[in-house]
């Protein structure tokens, strides 16, 4: 049974220095509020896992929380670079960032394997790329046909964090719209946190809705607006203007630091 706890408490209990942490949400429902709380609590040496690092990891990386990044596409969607990510990789600022780089298909197969308690995922991928030499991918032969296909190691984070639209009072969670790899991220993780837009008495199953039962989640925390500047289908739209604005904010180290100080460190948790 997932406990309904304040976000501060959830992060304090679930996320530890040195953990492998996955904050997922494929452009939709990116758990920014949870990421900000991780920053406020000053977690260090995290291995961050995520297909698309997006702004939330740009911020965690820029604030020095991460020692390693496992990812497949590290850009500002529709805008350009993630400057804090680039600064860490190109200049080691504020600290060097180790990379384990995959393709989306590889990350997806690795999460699915983790959720299914398998040591590796199987796919046809990485062929004819330099990526294959720079990441963890290997060949496995089909024991029936002899054909060789690719394998990636399962992703099994210490903590998986996603944002959803709703939880009921028992801690059952519903996500709808684009659901990405959120279910896999939660089920693949040893501990899991779901932040939600609202807590409702009873979940109404929606078309395209995915329900995660309370007993498969460690903790649920209320975080209205917790996906901003990403969006929450049925609640608010993607703040495309902020994604554009982030380019300038994040380009300069001082301006970034000042923005984080004002909007994250000083802000504190903005949820009831």
């Amino acid at each position: 049974m997932a406990d309904l706890v304040p976000l501060t408490e959830a992060i304090a209990e679930l996320v530890r220095d040195g953990d492998v942490v996955a904050l997922e949400g494929f452009t939709h429902l990116i758990p920014h509020a949870a990421g900000h709380e991780v920053i406020r609590q000053g977690r260090r040496d995290l291995t961050l896992v995520r297909l698309t690092p997006d702004l939330v990891y740009d911020q965690l990386i820029g604030m020095g929380c991460a020692r390693k990044l496992v990812f497949s596409w590290g850009g500002n969607p529709g805008v350009g670079s993630l400057h804090r990510f680039r600064d860490a990789v190109e200049n080691g600022w504020p600290r060097p960032l180790e990379l384990e780089e995959h393709s989306h298909a590889g990350m997806a197969a690795a999460y699915a394997a983790g959720a299914a308690n398998l040591p590796f995922g199987v796919l046809r991928g990485y062929r004819g790329t330099d990526l294959a030499k720079r990441t963890r991918v290997a060949l496995v032969a089909c024991p029936f046909t002899g054909e060789e296909v690719e394998a990636v190691p399962a992703i099994r984070p210490d903590v998986g964090i996603v944002h959803a639209q709703q939880a009921d009072e028992a801690g059952n969670v519903q996500i709808w719209g684009i659901t990405g790899v959120q279910k896999e991220a939660v089920l693949a993780s040893a501990r899991s946190l779901v932040t939600v837009e609202e807590v409702v008495p009873r979940l109404e199953l929606r078309p395209g809705g995915t329900v995660l039962p309370s007993w498969a989640i460690t903790a649920v925390a209320l975080a209205p607006g917790g996906a901003h500047p990403s969006y929450a289908h049925g609640y608010y739209d993607r703040d495309n203007a902020f994604y554009l604005a982030w380019d300038a904010i994040s380009r300069d180290r001082d301006r970034f630091a000042e923005w984080m100080e004002r909007h994250v460190l000083q802000a504190g948790v903005t949820v009831p």
């Binding site: 452009t27 393709s103 684009i178 395209g208 495309n240």
Partner: protein, 248 residues
């Protein structure tokens, strides 16, 4: 009617799409081209975005591949593991659209780093869905502005396979799709030579001469004899294209 180079690219790419084709598209030019095709000669084009939206019919061009409108207008929304396994890997995609930072003469793509991988001059976003899109789609269309910096003799990093080192490469590696079949640039269209698979200039856009394209290419560009000039965007195409607004 006047038009921009980007508009010419979108139109030229859209014209290559046939009605009913299933297209795996990314954001930006590919999304514009595929939606233009839907709005003009190919209303039955099926748009798939890697966020898991199958048959999306956006009224506005999405800024991100996960915009809500894609889910609202889709025939089906599936998980990311499913879109890559049951749909792309299963060989259900006719055309995969890709961009890149660099392309070489065999249509291999770099979207990972400029410079050394471990000490990069520029760290780019990375491969994303491209390696498997280029592997499993029946054809791959590339859209890329042409310059000696983007059309290079040697890639700094091969993120995504085109035709590797030429004829036979894809069969040798067991890459099921036909690979890059069309490269649409701001100057013209390049297609792989049937024999060597080397990219060859097969069409120039109106107002462009083959020498312009040669100058914008970082290798000794093969040019089709008597390379034809493509048609200008029609008013209908331009209207349709311009009525595709980016989501606010």
């Amino acid at each position: 009617m006047t038009y921009t180079a980007e508009e010419m690219m979108a139109v030229a790419a859209a014209r290559r799409l046939e009605d009913g084709m299933v297209c795996f598209v990314g954001i930006g030019l590919p999304s514009r081209a595929a939606n233009l095709a839907r709005a003009t000669h190919a209303p039955g084009c099926v748009l798939i975005y890697e966020s898991g939206t199958i048959g999306a019919k956006p009224q506005h061009l999405p800024l991100s591949i996960g915009d809500g409108e894609l889910a609202e207008t889709a025939d089906a929304v599936v998980s990311v593991p499913e879109i890559f396994s049951y749909w792309l890997q299963a060989g259900r995609i006719d055309v995969g659209f890709l961009g890149a930072a660099q392309i070489d003469r065999y249509g291999n793509l770099n979207s990972t780093v400029i410079g050394d991988y471990h000490d990069p001059k520029v760290r780019l976003p990375g491969a994303g869905g491209a390696p498997e899109i280029a592997m499993s789609s029946r054809q791959t269309f590339v859209m890329l502005r042409q310059s000696p910096r983007t059309f290079v003799e040697r890639l700094d990093f091969r993120s995504t396979p085109g035709h590797g080192d030429g004829y036979g490469f894809r069969d040798r590696l067991g890459l099921p799709g036909a690979g890059v079949t069309v490269v649409v640039t701001d100057l013209g269209i390049l297609e792989p030579d049937p024999e060597s698979r080397e990219l060859t200039l097969t069409q120039v856009h109106p107002g462009v001469v083959p020498d312009d394209v040669r100058k914008a290419t970082g290798w000794e560009l093969r040019v089709l004899g008597g390379v034809p000039t493509g048609k200008e965007p029609t008013p209908r195409e331009l209207e349709a294209l311009r009525s595709l607004k980016i989501a606010a």
